[in-house]
């Protein structure tokens, strides 16, 4: 056993009176309330926690916080299994169950470790190299199988996640002493101040020391009304001072949680001022096998000892490169951990080094680590000359790395702040404030306690009072050198422990002429793991600098992007899961349709009846029956989702002329006309019917899915281009239900329920609209048809939809009519060759591609998109044009999406099927397709390919059915 529990008073965070039991890889272990999983594992003597990503090397706990690259575990069971959880920030729960990731059959014996034998064949840029030679496809299957670390649950997540939006005057991120001082000062000055802390405990790096000033500030924060959110990690800063944070609202891994709980909460806080007090990370040193279980960050070991009462080892060697190592050594020694030696890479030890109490060797570096699954000792040698000089062995079970500090500048960088490099302490610090975001404490490079507190408080007050904000008194971190690797030694010196990127990989990238740190990151994958390189980025760029003859300031850092820590998809989705995944609309008569066996499907954001299957029918067979019934007798269709706009004003007619292909200003009151709406590029945006209600009042029907984009296009043109037009556009889709009655007996049916004779086909022509009444119910009745049959679209106030449906249905028997859904409507409109925007068009389709060239020629006046229709590309040969297809064998349904090509793929594609059905009227499969130069290819036989199967079809003209349109009049 290496780790063990220290006696009180060490262990400020834990409650020894409350022991907890848990399992790790099935092994029962024990810890205390207040432990993290990592501290409990260390206290239990567990060193081997996981395996690395690429080489499957054994790994242990490396840090004590969010920067952890190695100790990742899958926690929980069933739907509550959470993959890749950092053991260092996971509070221990009674009954918690955790397993190691990325190993098989287990963490001790892992077949994947054979990858280590192939390490030489897996250099930096391996993927990129295989793209060139011998071919990525040789490696892709195996790499895809090996990709990833933990396992996501297969079951649906039954828990809740919520999103909450708030506003703040001053929002402080970080519950350390600087953050507290800033929040208290802001609140005292009258601001609505917030403070977010990842930890449950306030105090940051001082939280385990029982610091009196921290306690006083925490008390003052409560007194002045600072809103404090603990267990809440800010992970992103976005435009206009929007900060997003994730709060853990339940005990992760607790097996006794109720069935369905609020698991995480996403905070979206818009703040007048954001203050980052995020602290800093300790930077590791590079030396051979610096990834062995038992090698860890020095500051983490101190935190485990003092905070959790855990000795990470009995005898430690500290590899140092900074002054901070000495204070840590004293803390550990005071806790009872023997310090075998401090090996300082620098020529001179730190100013507070006490050589009488500890063995301190300067200009020395570790040259070898002994032990594979746990540290058993190390060799070190002088770096003054050759590192291969006489090496001395030290027996130890713990090697601590103290390479200086890296301020957590992530939020500052996300907000667009710049960085500057401090060579004496080898760190990047904020170069002034970022827009809307200020930094205090260690993340600002202010490490000395007094100046940090003073600066933070002054800044908090200045922000509220509008005073000049004080500059950060950067300093106090001590000396550190940007020398990290030991050259000329065997063994792997890891830069990025999570992604198995070594100093040699960085050197290779440099030799291959990668100079930008952004390119280095992507080529080697350093900093691209779940830890996002918190402990590796700076070392990578220092090594890069050494290889390319540049100082770190010249190399620079990559841009930090959100999220700062991994965030669950559940937290991001919030309530948007299950039935709330997407906001769907319901018909006014949804319940009525449900009561008549409607099978609902989603079309254009609406839940609509696809068909009304009878016993033994599928949706498809029901649709064929319904279509045949409409053609022979009559059918009733709920078209309420059809988009409806009222366009009103003295310039309404002129405006609609500009918006549509088709002249609307010439419509008489009560007349209607089909129109195509184009973008300024000439491509089809939507289609619909425009009817005139009055001299300056129009009714516009859009497609169901096109209402929002049509209304938005109208408003955009009115507000940005036709600004002098006096036109009002009002969406009224939900005001009016639309019940469409179609078929040769349509009028007979409508007359039976009381519609007056003025609406009869003899009195009312196709494409006209009449205002009428059915008793007290106002109607707007449009004679139009998307089925090719005599059709009436009866628009009535939505509250009356169910009533009219019921009245019609009561009389359906005598008509022999049926209800029909959207699938039957699709069948009938394909038979008629009617265009369906979005199905039969794409973002390049022009009116002339779908048979509207004559409409354009007939219109003399200008309209939106007209000029683009004369561009060379619009007139070029080879454009995709809408045609009809008949299945050559009269049996095979032509699949939507099938490619039309002369040869089996890969081959030049000539077009594709856009709509397809079996036609009950023609008793054969038919389809619509966009085909290159299709208009001149009528009669041609074409070959189609879909998922490895070939089909053949003949190109035909449309409509397939009733080409003279005689059925429109019943």
């Amino acid at each position: 056993m290496s780790g063990y529990r220290l006696a009180a008073p060490h262990g400020a965070f834990i409650n020894r009176a409350r022991p907890l039991s848990f399992t790790f890889n099935g092994r029962p272990l024990a810890g205390f309330a207040g432990d993290t999983l990592a501290s409990a594992l260390l206290a239990s003597g567990v060193r081997l926690v996981g395996r690395s990503f690429k080489l499957h090397r054994p790994r242990g706990v490396f840090s004590c916080g969010v920067e952890e690259p190695c100790a990742l575990v899958d926690v929980g069971r069933g739907s509550r299994r959470t993959p890749n959880t950092r053991a260092t920030v996971l509070p221990l729960q009674e009954g918690l169950s955790a397993v190691s990731v990325n190993c098989w059959p287990g963490v001790s014996v892992d077949i994947g470790a054979l990858n280590g034998l192939l390490a030489a064949a897996l250099p930096a840029g391996f993927y990129y190299k295989t793209f060139k030679w011998p071919g990525w496809r040789w490696f892709e299957p195996a790499i895809r199988r090996m990709a990833g670390l933990g396992h996501a649950p297969l079951e649906a997540d039954a828990d809740h996640y919520e999103e909450i939006a708030q506003e703040a005057d001053v929002l402080v991120v970080g519950g350390g002493i600087a953050g507290l001082a800033c929040a208290v000062a802001a609140a005292r000055a009258g601001a609505a101040a917030w403070l977010l802390s990842s930890s449950e405990r306030l105090g940051g790096a001082l939280s385990y020391r029982g610091d009196r000033e921290v306690a006083e500030l925490a008390e003052a924060a409560r007194r002045f009304g600072v809103r404090i959110l603990t267990r809440t990690t800010a992970f992103g800063v976005y435009d206009h001072n929007l900060l997003v944070a994730c709060e853990r609202t339940c005990a992760e891994g607790d097996p006794d949680l109720p069935q369905c709980v609020l698991r995480e909460r996403l905070w979206k806080i818009r703040a007048r001022h954001i203050v980052s007090a995020a602290g800093s990370f300790e930077r590791p040193l590079l030396f051979p096998d610096n990834d062995r279980p038992g090698v860890m960050l020095a500051h983490a070991a101190a935190r485990y000892a003092l905070g959790y009462g855990v000795a990470c080892g009995k005898r430690a060697v500290i590899a140092a490169n900074s002054d901070g190592a000495y204070a840590i050594a004293r803390d550990l020694r005071a806790a009872g951990i023997e310090i075998a030696a401090i090996l300082d890479r620098r020529a001179q030890a730190g100013p507070d080094a006490d050589t009488r109490q500890m063995k301190i060797v300067t200009a020395a570096a570790i040259t070898a680590v002994h032990g594979r699954r746990r540290v058993r000792g190390c060799h070190f040698a002088s770096t003054g000359g050759s590192p291969r000089g006489r090496a001395e062995r030290i027996e130890c079970d713990l090697i601590l790395s103290a390479g200086g500090y890296t301020p957590a500048v992530h939020l500052h960088s996300q907000a667009g702040g710049r960085l500057r490099y401090l060579s004496d302490s080898a760190m990047f610090v904020p170069d002034g404030a970022a827009p809307g975001l200020y930094s205090v404490g260690a993340c600002a490079g202010v490490f000395a306690r007094g100046p940090a507190v003073g600066h933070a408080a002054a800044l908090g007050e200045a922000l509220v009072r509008g005073h000049l904000v004080p500059a950060a008194p950067v300093g106090g971190a001590g000396r550190a050198e940007a020398v990290t690797r030991v050259a000329g030694l065997g063994g792997k010196q890891f830069v990025d422990l999570q992604n198995d990127v070594t100093a040699a990989d960085v050197e290779l990238a440099a030799r291959e002429n990668y100079r930008s740190v952004e390119h280095l990151k992507r080529y080697t994958t350093t900093g691209m793991g779940t830890d996002q390189g918190k402990s590796s980025n700076i070392n990578a760029l220092i090594v890069m600098g050494e290889c390319t003859g540049r100082v770190p300031a010249e190399v620079g850092t990559t841009r930090f992007r959100p999220p700062f820590v991994p965030v669950s998809l559940g937290a991001i989705a919030g309530r948007r899961a299950g039935s709330l995944y997407r906001a769907l609309k319901e018909l006014p008569a949804h319940g009525w349709h449900a009561g008549h066996a409607a099978q609902f499907e989603t079309f254009g954001d609406w839940r609509r009846p696809a068909a009304y299957p009878q016993p033994g029918e599928t949706v498809e067979t029901a649709a064929l029956r319904e279509a045949a019934t409409v053609r022979s007798r009559a059918g009733l269709f709920d078209g309420s989702p059809l988009g409806k706009l009222e366009v009103y004003g003295p310039d309404a007619a002129r405006f609609l002329d500009l918006m549509y292909v088709g002249t609307m200003s010439k419509l008489a009151i009560g007349q209607a006309r089909y129109g195509l709406l184009l973008s300024e590029h000439g491509t089809l945006v939507d289609d619909g019917i425009v009817a005139r209600l009055g001299p300056q009042h129009f009714w516009v029907n859009t497609t169901t899915a096109g209402i929002d984009r049509t209304a938005a296009a109208f408003e955009e043109w009115l507000q940005c281009e036709f600004v002098d037009f006096r036109v009002l556009v009002t969406p009224v889709t939900s005001r009016w239900a639309n019940l469409t009655v179609a078929g040769p007996r349509a009028w007979q049916w409508l007359a039976a329920v009381g519609l007056t004779d003025e609406l009869a086909p003899q009195a009312m022509k196709h494409m006209t609209l009449r205002a009428s009444r059915l008793g007290e119910i106002p109607l707007r009745v449009l004679r139009a048809s998307f089925s090719g049959e005599l059709g009436y679209e009866v628009n009535l106030p939505a509250d009356h939809a169910e009533g009219l449906l019921e009245r019609l249905w009561e009389r359906s028997g005598e008509i022999g009519a049926c209800l029909y859904g959207i699938e039957a409507l699709q069948v009938m409109r394909i038979e008629k060759g009617y265009l369906h925007i979005g199905s039969d068009t794409d973002g390049t389709t022009l009116p002339q591609d779908v048979g509207f060239a004559r409409g354009i020629e007939h219109k003399g006046a200008n309209f939106v998109g007209r000029r683009s229709l004369a561009r060379p590309a619009a007139l070029a040969a080879g454009r995709l044009q809408l045609v009809g297809l008949k299945s050559a064998d009269a049996r095979s349904l032509l699949p939507v999406g099938a490619h039309i090509a002369a040869h089996a793929p890969p081959a030049p594609i000539d077009g594709r099927v856009t709509s397809s059905c079996f036609s009950p009227a023609l008793a054969l499969p038919i389809a619509l397709a966009l085909l290159s130069e299709g208009a001149r290819r009528t009669g041609e036989r074409v070959r189609l390919w879909h998922l490895g199967q070939e089909y053949q079809a003949q190109v035909v003209k449309t409509p397939f059915f009733d080409p003279q349109g005689e059925r429109l009049n019943g």
Partner: protein, 180 residues
């Protein structure tokens, strides 16, 4: 999908959500908020068109007027007669008109001290209307107009097609309120 209307009104401690049955609604559209139509409204109702982001009720209390855009005021009426009377009053105005929206919108009444708690979980703080305010916002990812005329009470106007979605989102949120 669960029946969104089951168990209405929704209630937890300090918060109640009720669906107002059959509200009469309309929309005044105009080119000029001080023009002929606006004057006709003032004369007929005794109240001016509310300014940007404002809501008001008529002295008789039979109509609520809520700003929705620089060219639109939404109307909620106690009954059809009040709406019809206003329609008649503005019929002669040539710079705008009244569109009847009865049946197109549904109205939820929220009452209690936790209204803001609920709204900031459905959308954002911008959705929280103070007395006399009318706010366009998105709640539960759908457009909603929130308006308040008195403390501890807010009305939400939502397209009827989206009401089930909004209610289901609220129901889940309130379940978590109750469990907390």
């Amino acid at each position: 999908m669960a029946d969104p209307f089951a168990g209405l009104p929704l209630a937890v401690a300090d918060l109640k959500v009720e669906l107002i049955e059959a509200p009469c609604a309309g929309s005044l559209r105009y080119f000029d908020p001080t023009g002929l139509l606006a004057q006709a409204v003032h004369t007929a109702c005794g109240v001016a068109l509310p300014g940007t982001g404002r809501a008001a009720s008529t002295p008789r209390g039979d109509l609520i007027l809520a700003w929705r855009s620089p060219t639109e005021t939404v109307l909620l009426a106690a009954d059809q007669a009040a709406l019809a009377a206003l329609g008649t009053a503005v019929a002669a105005a040539t710079d705008g008109y009244l569109i009847e929206l009865t049946g197109a919108v549904r109205v939820l009444r929220l009452s209690g001290v936790r209204i803001a708690d609920l709204l900031c979980r459905l959308g954002g703080t911008a959705s929280v209307a103070q007395p006399g305010e009318s706010r366009r916002s998105r709640l539960a990812d759908v457009p909603v107009l929130t308006l308040s005329l008195r403390r501890l009470e807010t009305q939400l106007l939502v397209d009827r097609a989206y009401l089930p979605h909004l209610l289901n989102w609220m129901r889940e949120t309130l379940l978590d309120f109750a469990a907390a």
